[in-house]
Amino acid sequence: MTMKKVFSRPASLSKTPFHYCPGCDHGVIHRLVAEAIDELEVGDRTIGVAPVGCSVFAYDYFNFDFNQAAHGRAPAVATGIKRTRPDSIVFTYQGDGDLAAIGTAEIIHAANRGEKITVIFVNNAIYGMTGGQMAPTTLIGMKTQTSPYGRDASTAGNPIKMSEMIATLESPVYVTRVTINSVANLMKAKKAIYNAFKLQKEGKGFSFVEVVAICPTNWGKKPADSHKWLTENMLPVFPLGTFKDTLGVEKSA
């Protein structure tokens, strides 16, 4: 009797074991990216751009070409790659420190030029790699290494909402915020990432997927508690939903 294989590692995902902390969402999000690329059959012409932060080694986990960019500059590097090889599928994978602090100019202007790239933005409200400092997306009152008394809006401002900001621009064709705190939301996240890459494959324009994620290590919480905390605290500030879908990719799918 032969066994039918019903589940396997996506071809675009390498066999390198993830270095991420136990319970971290990056591994799952990497997998969703790899699945979308496999399903769209573009693995042989995809080029990724890794950021600085926890996902600095993202290039180790995928089987396609990669550039490792300076902190925050991934959208500029991706612009150079996509303009040079327009038939490639180019994406950046960035965290909140990288995209929403040091790289704010690069992300806003890549979006505004309507670069035909895809951006996967992982927002877990904290700097992970450097040991848990306050990020632009850190919630008010949230304690971090550099906001030990809790983030104070009067001196440190308020959580920055990148999806909402980018959706105000004319050029992007798809801006959506998802999370992976439940199986139902995971399936929605998978669909959003697929849609973003599908739009790029069709040459449509700039697509942006924000994934609200957990950081158990730097939040000082167990993974299950982290997802609960995310649901109760992060989602009211960063509501899920699609902020821009110019071409109606969600309806057509």
């Binding site: 396609f64 490792q68 500059r73 303009r83 040079t84 202007h109």
Partner: protein, 360 residues
Amino acid sequence: MAKVLMKGNEAIGEAAVLAGCRYYFGYPITPQSELPAYLAKRLPEVDGVFVQAESEVAAINMVYGSGSAGARVMTSSSSPGISLKQEGISYIAGAEVPCLIVNVMRGGPGLGNIAPAQSDYWQSTRGGGHGDYRTIVLAPNSVQEMADMTITGFDLSDRFRNPVLLLSDGVLGQMMEPVNLPEPHDYNINSKKWALGYRGSDKNERNLCSSIFLDNDELEEHNWHLYQKYQVITDLFSKGEYKDFAVEEHLCDDAEIILVGYGIISRILKTVVEKCRKRGIKAGLVRPKVLWPFPTAVFERLAKTASQFLVVEMSCGQMVEDVKLSVDGKKPVFFFGRTGGTVPSDFEILNEVDKLVRPD
């Protein structure tokens, strides 16, 4: 091709197109504006890409992306903008991605002014950004050389997978001279097997452009690999095929005083040498055309025959340190400089020579 009258900045632009460069990323700054203006018009005519970036930082990172995808690519700026690009240049050097960077120098530090200067010598020849790396630095002194060295710069950067800096100044960028443009060069974007997106049938593994080596031993190995590459480049300019390209000598054989200057200064120094000779002063000129690797050998040789050196720069004295290192204390090395955007006159320099050769 027939001779055409062009500004130095435009000559770089046209030469880049003729060298097969189809990608330019930059940000506006005086006094290099003619170059992006030229390419904004010219590149679309040859199916090329011109992007005005949101900043110098973004522009150099677009260059990093484009170069890593196999393109002949360039950016240009002037001093304060080149400072902003240093982060990207360090990454590009670390990841060994070829590109051409043009600096049309102006006065600093800080915002300084928009007048010509040569005060970015240290920044250019010592790396500029963080880490143990080198950029090849070419220093033209005419509109013709702006064009020729653009082509040479692309060839060198591809050959050594290293950024090349074309170090010019506000005078050279703005002045017009007749120029013989070279024949166009074919460039195939799929000629680099290491490039991202390379899809030749001989591609076995995925390609990666990166400057991160987290393991101590790996980074040390990488840094020594870069160092060895820089040694090969140094040999090429000191005794290999670029030996004659690296430096220009004028009336040095019997010279008692050697004047030293690069870029626009070298043209004034040539006039000073002629005037000295008419007055019976045995003066000669050494003009480094390549600033890194520095042409040390010529100074080692002339330190045996000449009695003194006078280095002239539009700075408070930067290249003079390399001349002193090369002369190695065997003969006195003097300095004369003007800064802040003033180009010294031949008369002023002649006065300095007089003081040195006729002390009473």
